[in-house]
Amino acid sequence: MDLKGLYREIVNEHNLRPAHKGDMENPDLVLRGVNPSCGDDITLQLKIVDGVIEDAMFSGSGCAISQASVDMMADQVIGRTKEDAIKLAGTFMGMIKGEIKDEEELEELDEAAALQDISHMPARVKCAVLGWKTMQKMLEHPEDAENISSEND
């Protein structure tokens, strides 16, 4: 898919009408992710119950690809265990780096697999992976993320 097709068919819907944008009440983990060179700036918020991501939301601003990618990610990780979500992030980043091309493996990503063509657009790779990287970081190192509910407890 060329870039214009990608915008029209996938990105615009999530960018203009995101399902998971906003501020969550009492999130368990909060982490800000920034691409300093382009100004993409998101704050990802996760609600985690018994090791399962019960809800994911994001706030902030950035280009359409960064915003759409994080919204699509939220669709995919809600309902998954932390471990599963970390593994999925690995698959997504592998796809964007062009290292994972196996269709069966990419099926796991569902709609997020539509961003595969970003692997041919090096200037936009950072935008596409921002949300996934931020989530991976907060799940692998929750001590670095703001642990809001425990602060309130």
């Binding site: 060329d2 870039l3 214009k4 915008y7 029209r8 615009n12 819907e13 960018n15 203009l16 060179s37 382009c38 100004g39 700036d41 601003s61 950035g62 280009c63 359409a64 690809i65 657009m121 200037a123 936009r124 935008c127």
Partner: protein
């Protein structure tokens, strides 16, 4: 009368495909004359200049020093001793900050720059003022991008030791009143440094007339190769400064414990120099002089006027800086409602239009104008009205691609 088409044939890259190159403020393209000069240097005169006693080295030295003379005449310096070759404007400004700033700014003093500066004219002064416990003061432009006399007279005071200011802004394209600012700064006893990176390719520069104590610019924005830049400094100031980098070729005499330094300008050119780059810069200056600043300014104004008029017809576009195209130096910085600048640039790239998007290495200015990032189209004399029309057509299509 000249036309851009007369010159386009000299630039091989401009003949490749249907690309519209509108990122000239980041770097210009290079004509054959420049690339031929570099090749000729390596094919016919290549030896380490300033060292060897044999023909080739003598020849390389002569070509390197001829380039220095051309640069000296180009900016109206009073002698070639005042011209130091560097890698780029960034290195030139760092040289001044380290070798002049750190020795002449003391605790409680003030350094004045503007909020419009490129990071290369901000960070060196943050370093100096932090290290010396001095204060960094920012001049701010009005809504048209102008630094008014009231503004600079209120901020440049007897406490000011250094005023370092961009000649032409890389975001607004506006030419700052450097001559007036320099005169006032000198009255207050300050030293004046001018970042000419965005000016030297577009307007005639005379450092003495301007009142610049130091003037920095890069070759690559005026058609020379990347990796060659210039620092002009008044001889009296340069003579009293310590070297920036030390090592080969900048010495007079070295013992195990000590060294004396070479004469100007070699004191500031440690290590093997970029002689081929300097030769390329000389070729670029000669090419530029042949085109002439009259034509460059006329063509840039024609293109900028057409571009700004076309953009005004798109109500969702906001242009930054002056409303007068004559005050843009070929640079039009803009945002599009609802569309991030990176998406603008990516969509335009799909149509083979090259524009810059981001913070343009001027984050304090982005914060000042309240934009996280912006898009920037910048033209040079080899761009055409037909290119501007095609750019405007593609620009008008961006919002529909983005789902509006």
């Amino acid at each position: 009368m000249s036309r851009p088409e007369d010159y386009r044939k000299d630039f091989p890259i401009l003949g490749k495909g249907d690309y519209i190159y509108f990122d000239n403020a980041a770097t210009s393209q290079r004509p054959n004359a420049v690339m031929d000069a570099i090749k000729d240097f390596y094919e016919n005169s290549n030896a380490n200049p300033l060292r060897g006693l044999y023909d080739w080295s003598v020849d390389a030295t002569e070509r390197y020093e001829n380039a220095r003379k051309t640069v000296s005449d180009f900016i109206g310096a009073s002698s070639t001793e005042e011209i130091i070759f560097t890698r780029n404007t960034t290195e030139s400004l760092n040289l001044v900050a380290y070798s002049y700033g750190l020795s002449n700014v003391e605790e409680g003093d003030e350094v004045v720059i503007s909020v419009m500066e490129h990071h290369s004219n901000i960070l060196p002064w943050q370093m100096v003022t932090k290290q010396k416990k001095a204060k960094l003061v920012f001049l701010e432009p009005d809504e048209e991008g102008v630094i008014t006399p009231e503004e600079y007279k209120s901020k440049i005071t007897e406490k000011t030791k250094i005023v370092s200011i961009g000649h032409v802004s890389n975001v607004f394209g506006i030419t700052n009143p450097v001559k007036d600012i320099a005169a006032y700064a000198h009255e207050m006893g300050a030293t004046v440094i001018v970042d000419g990176a965005q000016a030297a390719p577009h307007i005639p520069v005379n450092v003495q007339n301007l009142g610049a104590d130091f003037y920095a610019f890069s070759g690559h924005k005026l058609m020379a190769p990347m990796g060659i830049g210039v620092l002009y400094g008044r001889k009296k100031l340069l003579e009293n400064m310590n070297p920036f980098l030390t090592g080969g070729e900048m010495i007079e005499y070295v013992t195990r414990e000590d060294a004396t330094y070479a004469e100007l300008p070699h004191k500031f050119e440690a290590g093997t120099v970029n002689a081929a780059g300097a030769v390329g810069l000389e070729a670029a200056i000669k090419y530029l002089q042949n085109v002439g600043f009259d034509f460059i300014e006329e063509q840039e104004l024609k293109l900028t006027t057409r571009m700004m008029e076309g953009m005004k017809k798109l109500p969702y576009i906001k242009i930054y800086g002056s409303s007068d195209p004559a005050k843009h130096s070929g640079i039009v910085t803009f945002t599009m409602e609802g569309v991030h600048p990176h998406d603008i640039s990516s969509v335009l790239n799909d149509d083979h239009v090259c524009v810059r998007a981001g913070h343009h290495c001027a984050q304090p200015l982005m914060q000042f104008i309240g934009a996280g990032s912006t898009a920037r189209a910048s033209v040079y004399f080899y761009n055409t009205e037909e290119e501007v029309d095609r750019f405007l057509e593609h620009l008008a299509g961006v919002r529909s691609v983005m789902g509006y």
